[in-house]
């Protein structure tokens, strides 16, 4: 480790604000994109299975009616 202490590490030689602003905002944006992409995928899969199940029920009902 190049820094002598944690305090020195967080201070980043006086540039702490800019360094941590960069890393913080970047990680937040990457995590948001990853989470949202995964969420969209799961969400659509759920909707699709629900739709297919509905179609199946409808078909069964129509067969019984005849």
């Amino acid at each position: 480790m190049y820094f002598q202490s944690w305090a020195e590490f967080w201070a980043m030689g006086g540039y702490g604000l800019f360094v941590w602003l960069s890393f913080g905002s970047s990680y937040v944006m990457l995590a948001a994109l990853a989470w949202y992409s995964q969420y969209q995928h799961k969400q659509f899969k759920r909707q699709l299975s629900a739709k297919l199940a509905r179609e199946k029920r409808l078909q069964q009902y129509q067969e019984q009616a005849h």
């Binding site: 980043m12 030689g13 360094v19 960069s22 905002s25 990853a34 899969k45």
Partner: protein
């Protein structure tokens, strides 16, 4: 070669391939990003001119390089979609655009946070910064255009056209620091000359660049799978998979 490649254009194959590759790509990207960034933040000496503020390079350069790399990938996919009408290529264009937009935003924001202490200003309208901002608008334009038509196919086609035309911006970004007077420093790594950056700082940087590249592929896998499901939802293979 094309005979070998052709089955990979089949949506079902791509769907399962992406599903198998995704966890590995995501894991590798996270590991490499952590390794490169922690190494760059804590285990390299400070720059002799810029002090510790230069550590922003470990995000700024990978994001900037891959913002252009992602655009090239998107433009190639768009070209294939327009010329050969490969469906998977068409969906890739729309799946990859948000990834490129986020990378470009990261490059711009980290650049601003670096510029404030080094140049004394968050933003200047110089060639490199402006052309990178235009890249962000190109990504946003592709995303917006694809959703602007009631017919999904038309929207995707127009968006691909914009993606191909926008390629003109890539050489402008790349050479902007040579063609015009600019506040932005020249390249630290080049293919043809010895890098101007010290090896102790170069290694973590290269690892972070690789991490951004793999992360792009991992996110593309997730997003492309969703796009395939949305577009193929009436096909038997999707019904068979989602039905049970």
């Amino acid at each position: 070669m094309f005979k070998w490649l052709h089955p990979y254009a089949k949506p079902e194959t791509v769907y399962h391939l992406c599903g198998r590759l995704m966890p590995w790509l995501m894991g590798a990207a996270l590991l490499l990003l952590l390794l490169g960034n922690i190494w760059g933040l804590a285990f390299t000496p400070p720059d002799y001119q810029q002090g510790d503020s230069y550590r922003i390079i470990h995000l700024h350069v990978p994001a900037a390089i891959m913002s252009m790399g992602t655009y090239s990938a998107m433009a190639i996919a768009a070209f294939i979609a327009l010329v050969w009408q490969v469906k998977v290529a068409q969906w890739s264009v729309l799946a990859i655009a948000p990834i490129g937009a986020v990378y470009t935003a990261i490059a711009l924001i980290t650049g601003m946070a670096w510029g404030k202490p080094m140049w004394g200003t968050w933003w200047v309208w110089d060639a490199r910064l402006t052309s990178e901002l235009i890249l962000l608008f190109l990504y946003l334009g592709v995303i917006a255009l694809s959703g602007a038509f009631s017919d999904r196919q038309t929207g995707a086609k127009v968006a691909s056209l914009l993606a191909v035309v926008g390629v003109i911006n890539l050489p402008i970004i790349h050479f902007s620091v040579e063609w015009w007077n600019t506040l932005h420093q020249g390249a630290s790594i080049t293919k043809f000359a010895k890098p101007s950056i010290d090896p102790s700082m170069l290694w973590p940087l290269l690892i972070s660049i690789l991490a951004f590249k793999i992360l792009m592929l991992a996110l593309l896998c997730v997003r492309l799978r969703t796009a395939i499901l949305v577009n193929e939802q009436h096909r038997p293979w999707v019904k068979a998979m989602a039905g049970d």
